[in-house]
């Protein structure tokens, strides 16, 4: 069947389903990429271990859910614990490498991945696991005349809330403004009496908590095994680069773009679906290296 026929045959309700599938993808990527880009924007470190932290959170969520049976408890507990992990990571390691060349920063966070993986293996073994969505969110509901999974809708909605919340936090709270100031000019912010090291720790904690939130929300949609981070980290890099390194709105637009490409790619040209994201990433870097929303440098 040709692409043209596919499109011609597509009914409105199918179109809606693909858009929603794309939004699920986009939500997933955004939650991962926003933390990554936030940390990069302030700390100027591209945290390779970001997806490994997301994976750790998914294992923790699986543990909490198996032990207590409560998805909602995991939703509160896991991001809180992971925020502490993020803070510890910044205090113990990242803080020491702000002034060293990029390759060493990458290498450091790569080392963190190795440690996280083996700690997971030591704690939970090598078998993979899956977690179930809360019973209240099982089944499907009708969207414009088509059944669509309730959990997916919840997932999209909740992450939209997180996106808005993040925007409000960064632009309309005192603390958010301090973060912006610290990101823009470290010395100036410090001179103005802002506790810059404290902000760095807080941002790393917050970025990690965002990844952890995804670990819980995305848990019911994936296989949790020791290699899941591999795929997510490059996709998150791609989104961050497309949107512009350090830009949260950029991460949002990048996620939407990639999510839709993914979803409609499976519909139209499944053969190229995997390559789309990297084609866009390369095109953006060639034409506009600072990304769609990044500030022009130099």
């Amino acid at each position: 069947m040709s692409i043209a026929e596919d499109i011609a045959m597509m009914r409105a309700d199918s179109f809606v389903a693909y858009v929603l599938n794309g939004l699920v993808q986009a939500s997933c990527l955004f939650l991962l990429a926003s933390g990554l880009t936030l940390i990069f924007g302030v700390l100027r470190i591209l945290n390779f271990a970001h997806a490994a932290l997301f994976m750790l959170a998914a294992y923790l969520a699986a543990q909490v859910i198996t032990s207590t049976g409560s998805f909602w408890l995991a939703l509160v507990l896991v991001p809180a614990v992971m925020a502490l992990v993020g803070a510890a990571l910044e205090r113990a390691l990242l803080r020491r490498v702000y002034d060293v060349p990029v390759p060493y920063q990458l290498l450091l966070t790569f080392g963190v991945i190795l440690v996280i993986k083996d700690l997971i293996k030591l704690t939970w073994g090598t078998a993979s696991r899956t977690i179930a969505e809360p019973p209240a969110l099982r089944g499907a509901t009708s969207v414009l005349g088509r059944d669509y999974p309730l959990y997916n809708l919840f997932y999209i909605a909740i992450i939209a809330v997180v996106a808005v919340g993040l925007w409000v936090f960064l632009h309309h709270t005192q603390f958010g403004k301090r973060i912006q100031a610290a990101a823009a000019d470290r010395e100036m912010a410090s001179a103005m009496g802002i506790n810059v090291p404290g902000i760095y720790t807080a941002v790393c904690a917050a970025g990690t908590a965002l990844a952890a939130l995804l670990g819980v929300f995305h848990g019911p949609m994936m296989n949790i095994h020791l290699d899941v981070d591999h795929q997510y980290i490059v996709e998150a890099f791609a989104v961050v680069v497309i949107g512009g390194l350090g830009s949260v709105p950029g991460a949002l637009v990048g996620s939407l773009l990639v999510g839709m490409l993914d979803s409609f790619g499976i519909l139209l040209i499944p053969r190229f679906q995997m390559a789309f994201i990297y084609m866009v990433m390369a095109a953006v870097l060639i034409v506009r290296p600072q990304g769609l929303f990044g500030p022009r440098e130099g």
Partner: protein, 414 residues
Amino acid sequence: MAAGGSFFSTRRAWGAAPPIKVGLIMSFSGVVAAWGAAGRMGAFMAADEINQAGGVLGRPLEFKLEDDTSTNAAIAVQKARKLVFDWGADFLIGFNSSGTALAVVPILPELKRILIVPCAASPRITTEVWNKYCFRNHVHSNQKGAAGAAIAATLPYTKWTVIGPDYAYGHDSWGAFATHLVQKKPSVQIMSTQAWPKFAAGAYDSYITRILDAKPEAVYSPLWGDDFVTFVKQANRHDFFKKVGAFFTPAGLAMDAFYALRKEVPKGIYTCAHGYWFEHPDTARNKKWVEAFVSKWGELPHVTAHETYSAVYYLKAAIEKAGTTDTEAVIIALEGLEQDSPSYRKVIRKEDHQVITDVPWGKTQDAPGLIPIESRVGDIVLAKGEEVAEPLDQVLKRRKEGGTPPWMQYIIKS
């Protein structure tokens, strides 16, 4: 689980008798780790029994495990070489995924060791890439496909499609099934809208939407391991199984999926549980074996446990028949060797080293009394081994010509 540890399963003193070393390479991590774990249980159970009864030729069996990580061909090759050249394995048993098995079979002449494949089901293993060191004591996709198609042909559905993992096993499994189905029922229409997510994809929503939009009457799915579990969870949310007339999965619903899904196992779908469901056949021998397995491991036997158990006994019989562990002699001893496995009678065909044995297909149903899985495969129809075996002339022709199997025409990735 200690994936790398060496296993010596007895307290008996063996004196000077050197152990017979068997390397077990399976997936102990990744998306089909449950299958590797099951394989270990079956192999160790057999080894325990054999060692307690005096070993093989008076020598104990010693096992070493290596992890092929479910997906990585290069790692599988490296681990196989390590087992033989470094540890000194006399025999190899291995591979859950056909991807890793197909990578290792071509290096067997370099290793000069027998490999018995108890799980990986791509027909290519015993046809296109086969060499004399390679044996399989397990039914492959062509046999399972022939048996499944016989049932599918009796159903009133003509529009068929597939959602399967995008690698050799997925292609071969569907291709073989589709070939047999079209032969048995020429009115069947193989749809061009198909879904081929990659192995370990994790997300299936868009594939599900795509398949449902094409309105197939029946769907075949070679997804397996955690991929199948994840797919079922997502497909249930889309009411997928209620929207298609029939759903066939050869390997998706093995015991690991029953444990993972329990009540969520979709009812009324067809499966052959990869070749063995513990309640079938209803014989004293099988019952006794299942009881022994449950008391040893605390869980119901998975098909792979059954098959590694059989593989170890195959080795024992062949070594004893040959009177030596010499590779060439054991190869000859294995050819044509018969076995009464806990389930069905097995015969290793001389020419392609592929086992000929019966294949059960059944339908999932509620089983509230069956603790802890609460679902079962029922209404089992047994296809006779000789009837579903791939004809020898066809095997020899494919081996001679090499290349890709003829059924690739049914794999459409648009």
